[in-house]
């Protein structure tokens, strides 16, 4: 049974600037005792009082403005951040695809990066070796897999990361925005795999600005605003409230009409 439960969870980041992040300050602060307000570490409340319950089969879109806490929420759901207050419980094998510039080593080859990502996500070397060919085929990177990752374009990195996570059968798939960097032809391929994955009773949380992607993959949505869950419910309902109009309204009666807000929401 795959599930993510979060109870009244908050994520607060202490911001240690160069001054407060030193022992000297701490020692002096204690001795002096009076500069309390200055000695205290400023805190950014990235997420505030989040209560969520996601189960297998849930396909949840994550919308909200920049800085609303979407990426932080994804990391909370991945277990990377444990809530500073409140509780969280994650049951299932998590595979995150976050910011693609980080978490991959630019100096080593695509093959090596596939291997390392797979090992991090709990696969064994043998299991990854059997999957490497499949990933190579799926990502269409071919001989590029021998090249160091720094020679890759953003789209190629997305391909690599998606290739890894979709080949290892994760139970919980967390996708941050940035997935949109691949071309349409590849997206069509990735779509089939992702749908397949979700159909195998996985759990998907997908942060994206595109109505098209959200409409295709998700049936529920979370609207994040200033670190709060402003709304959690059916996809159409949430998107309507978030955007102020129904993005799917026009689409259904007249399929041929181009969707005006392909990348709306900002």
């Amino acid at each position: 049974m795959v599930s993510i439960d979060v109870w009244n969870a908050s994520v607060d980041f202490p911001i240690f600037d160069a001054k407060s992040r030193s022992l000297k300050k701490l020692a002096l602060g204690k001795v002096g005792g009076k500069i309390e307000s200055e000695g205290r570490v400023p805190i950014i409340e990235a997420l505030h009082d989040i209560t969520l319950s996601l189960k297998d089969g849930d396909r949840v879109g994550l919308v909200g403005h920049n800085g609303a806490g979407k990426s932080t929420l994804l990391r909370l759901l991945a277990g990377i951040y444990e809530p500073t207050r409140g509780q969280s419980r994650i049951i299932g094998k998590v595979a995150p695809v976050f910011d693609l510039g980080v978490g991959m080593d630019p100096e080593i080859s695509g093959y090596e990066n596939i291997m390392i990502r797979g090992l991090f996500l709990g696969m064994s070397r043998k299991q990854m070796e059997t999957r490497v060919d499949d990933i190579a085929q799926f990502t269409e990177l071919g001989d590029y897999l021998q090249m160091p990752l720094r020679t890759y374009s953003t789209g190629m990195r997305v391909r690599l990361a998606l290739g890894v996570v979709t080949s290892i059968n994760p139970e919980i798939l967390l996708l941050d925005e940035g997935i949109g960097a691949v071309d349409a032809a590849f997206m069509a391929k990735a779509r089939d795999r992702l749908k397949d994955l979700v159909a195998r009773s996985g759990l998907l949380v997908f942060a994206n600005h595109s109505d098209e992607f959200l409409g295709e993959f998700c049936d529920k949505a979370i609207w994040m605003d200033e670190g709060h869950v402003k709304m959690f419910g059916g996809l159409r309902e949430v998107l309507t409230a978030y955007k102020g109009y129904d993005p799917f309204e026009r689409k259904h009666p007249h399929e041929e009409t181009p969707v005006l807000s392909g990348n709306g929401g900002e």
Binding site: L23, L26, T51, R125, F232, G233
Partner: protein
Amino acid sequence: MQATSTLDQAEAPPAVKSRSFKRAFADVREAWDHRELWGHLGWQDIKQRYRRSVIGPLWITISMGTTALALGLLYSVLFDTNVPTFLPYVTVGFIIWNFILGCITEGTDVFIANEGLIKHLPAPITVHVMRMVWRQVLFLAHNLVVYAVVLAIFFTALDHPYTITKGGIEHPGISWTIVLAIPGFALLAVNAVWIALLFGVISTRFRDIPPVVNSFINLVFFMTPIVWDAGVLQRVTGGSGDNDWRMLIAELNPVYHFVEVVRAPLLGHAVDWHHWAVVGGFTVVGWFAALVILRNYRARVSYWV
């Protein structure tokens, strides 16, 4: 606006606390289960470092060889000692010291350097420590080649009772006790893990620690009997034994005991169990401290990096 589907919210939060020894132990245990990961990453680090050089990791061996040769010759002249016994002594001491140095200095940096991985892939934080220690073990393995060469050259000087400094302790010479180096090194590596965990977490929070450690570590090198023989202390105290305060110069230095449990068997020195006792004590106390830190601050590391 209200959340619309709070109805299916699971009722009570679990009683599992984030700050518990159970979670601290789980972190270490899961890191052990991930050994294929850090094993792979450790190798990768070594290959990476010498990626475009022609002779690759052989550089590790070469630089150790030249340093040991130069230091050994220099100090045997300075201290007026016998090169065939003193050079192996300096070589082995320096190899072990390099391992300890790597574990401490890179240990303080272990989480800071892995910020990207920590923030992007969920994994037990001990994984990063294991990767670093494993990398140091691999460095040491490369350096052991130097030991093998030195041992082959000077074996005839070491296979019978000998003294390093004139008037120093007489060592029995290389014998079966050489196998004690294996448990000795295992103990050293186990200690390296707690040191890196403890210093790593503290350094991630207090960024002054790495520079402090880096500036004091050189002092430790000179205080530790590596390029000088602890037997010298015996001589200056007139062999009067362990009661002289000058003996404490070495005895109070924990690094001395760590070096000695590995070095003594490799050189055929007399096995002195009090070093083992000290190291054993540090293992227990150190791991306890590391687990307490891990219990309280394990979940904070991803916030601090």
